[in-house]
Point group: C2
Chain length 413, copies 2
């Protein structure tokens, strides 16, 4: 199934907002074997929209548009599509009820502009937008090709695409083929090392199976995709190949499913009944933020100290000033003490501690920008090591956080 | 000047990587009055690239491509462009020297694949990539239209576009017009309220001035853009209009320049010689992370406590268990005590404290998901208030963080 995505909005083309919708949609449909042929980001302009829809139908079975459905006069997607597909606008009372409900929930007064969102083209079928006010419009051509117009607010687009639009598309473009996936996350190996290790294994894959390398900074996701009319053959093949991958990368397996380092760490903490706390200098609270971004983390996570200044390391974490004096604050000795200190201060079983030079300033002789010391502590042991991460301040903070979370997850295996 | 951007890479169309380059480029060129006509995201496919370049030259003066310049065989942008513009590949010793230097810095061994990146089309002028190995290629048509091919790694693209590509483009497409901008950040008003307040003011703007509304969750950026052949007239007009905006929104002015809430807060802390610390429950370290993401924050920021569990609030921040018992942990009374507690624990002048229900679970009668209590403390006073933020967990955390940082920045005016 070939998909073309048209993202509509002036704000996308002045860089005020980044189009994350297209990537999110692509991520959802890719495992179904559906492919995004291209994404085009265009202005709120009737001619541009019309030309883009023509171009899209020429190559795609399904055209998805996002954006341009707001209540203000610069949002012209609905009118343009109404003209494109013929017919006129009609008032849809169900849409109005939905808008009233959304506004009531938000405690906002309905105004005439928003009320006009209840006008929809006669040529489309409406899918109620349960999380916003702009109705989703499903247009169908006589040749069976479909255009679905969705709002641009990522939160609305993704919820509605996942819950309604994608299932309805799958239903319409039904295939006898079953699809399936398995995922493993490998840490501590470069992409080329993984590829070399999998060379023979990949060559022996059956034709209905494909392996995707999805590298992220510090980790590599390997996803086995398969499609077959025989679902039980498909599932057993996937299970077998998944078990082989887990076996091949046993020493470097961060997770046997599609988990982030923090999700994997929380899962393993939970399995052992452990809790974790973080003591962060150069990562500045980012590790705590990544842990607490996960709903339900509170059973294994109780708190953190961001110890940016030495006085905080000394007074709250109990780091020995003499150790700072002797080894410098960016040292394995100091992060080891920070890890012990935060375990005591929070009363946690495990700990993560970081101290480093995120840059651009702060480099000292022998400790260039990107130098980060990380300690992880479990009830059994505390280990500390020094890393050198390339790039700008935000990249150093991100890589250090990923590495620290991965280290603890691996130590808990 | 009309720009078309082509982002090349299979990884962009399966949603593995989001194309942030196009937005960053748009943000940089927009203030110069240059406009991005559209962005097209396409596969690593020779036909797709060729067709996209044809399409782009039909409407744009300058075509920018990103991606597809890696050393592996799926990266075919260079070969395709070489064929498109005619000529052949030649070995460029300067590019090889640059690659060797980059690799030496990273401490990686040079391999034959990477060495092949020193082959460049005879039809292009090379701009050395100082932060990566893929050379940047400047192609020029006989009619003066230009295509610049840049790597896809955001870090490389942006640094090189800002430092080399954009200045060279500005130089080539030189205009007698000067450009200028002023920015103010307004908080606590909706976009429509701002628009109503500015109605007459906008109508009276001279024709060479344009006002852009750039709303972000919780704040609105107002940017005055101008262009004129008379630079001193332009600058004095911009100054005057900027002063008027500052005056109109005096009570809601978060910043008189393009600053984030955390940058504005740090600026005002610095002006008063104050420091800040955070005590975070529902924001889980995100406020600390946003402060420490700014280089040089250490003169006003010393540390934080993420007090996710009650025991941390009580033991480290000194919150009175009886107050938690009486008012609930999500209460103005508790955040006020957290703010006082963190000031004492860290020894800071000012403080931010948060406690709320980020969701999806955790709602209690009268305190639905999205309820967040925020306290800010200065040496003069401590104030606490309750907010209700809509949306998912990540949005609640983000909005609560922005609001808290904005509140302290406004209190320091």
């Amino acid at each position: 199934m070939k998909i073309a995505i048209i993202a509509i909005g002036d704000e996308l083309l002045i860089g005020q907002v980044v189009d994350t919708n297209s990537g999110s949609i692509a991520r959802m449909i890719d495992p179904a074997g559906w492919s995004v042929e291209y994404v085009k980001v265009i202005h709120d302009d009737a001619d541009a929209i019309t030309a883009a829809v023509d171009e899209a139908f020429a190559v795609a079975d399904v055209v998805l548009t996002t954006g341009g459905l707001g209540p203000t006069k610069d949002d012209i997607t609905k009118l343009t599509l109404c003209k494109y597909f013929g017919g006129e606008l009609r008032h849809d009372p169900t849409v109005l009820d939905n808008i009233k409900e959304v506004f009531a929930k938000r405690g906002i007064q309905l105004n005439p502009l928003t009320e006009a969102q209840a006008m929809v083209p006669t040529s489309c079928r409406v899918i109620q937008n349960r999380v916003g006010t702009a109705p989703i419009m499903w247009f169908e051509r006589t040749d069976g090709k479909v255009l679905v117009s969705m709002p641009g607010v990522p939160f609305e687009t993704l919820q509605m695409f996942r819950a309604e639009v994608f299932p309805q598309l799958l239903d319409k473009f039904h295939s006898d083929e079953h699809i399936g996936h398995r995922c493993v996350i490998v840490e501590g190996l470069t992409e080329s090392k993984v590829a070399i290790q999998l060379d023979a294994w990949e060559d022996a894959l059956p034709p209905f199976i494909h392996l995707a390398y999805l590298p992220k900074p510090g980790i590599i996701r390997l996803r086995i995709d398969g499609h077959h009319t025989d679902d039980s053959l498909l599932q057993s093949t996937l299970d077998q190949l998944h078990a082989q991958l887990c076996d091949i990368f046993a020493d470097h397996l961060l997770a046997d499913a599609d988990l982030t380092p923090e999700e994997s760490m929380l899962q393993r903490l939970r399995a052992k009944g452990y809790s974790v706390a973080t003591a962060e200098s150069c990562t500045g609270g980012n590790i705590a933020h990544r842990i607490t971004a996960i709903a339900g983390c509170s059973d294994c996570y109780h708190g953190s100290v961001v110890a940016y200044e030495n006085s905080v390391k000394i007074n709250i974490l109990g780091v020995d000033p003499a150790v700072i004096e002797a080894h410098g604050v960016v040292s394995e000795e100091v992060v080891a003490q920070m890890a012990q200190g935060i375990r005591k201060a929070i009363g946690s079983d495990c700990a993560i501690a970081t101290s480093g030079i995120a840059g651009p300033g702060g480099a000292t002789p022998g400790k260039p920008v990107g130098t980060v010391c990380i300690a992880i502590a479990t009830p059994e042991r505390t280990v500390a090591a020094t890393y050198h991460f390339p790039g700008t301040r935000d990249r150093v903070i991100d890589r250090a956080s990923t590495t620290a979370l991965t280290l603890l997850a691996m130590a808990l295996k």
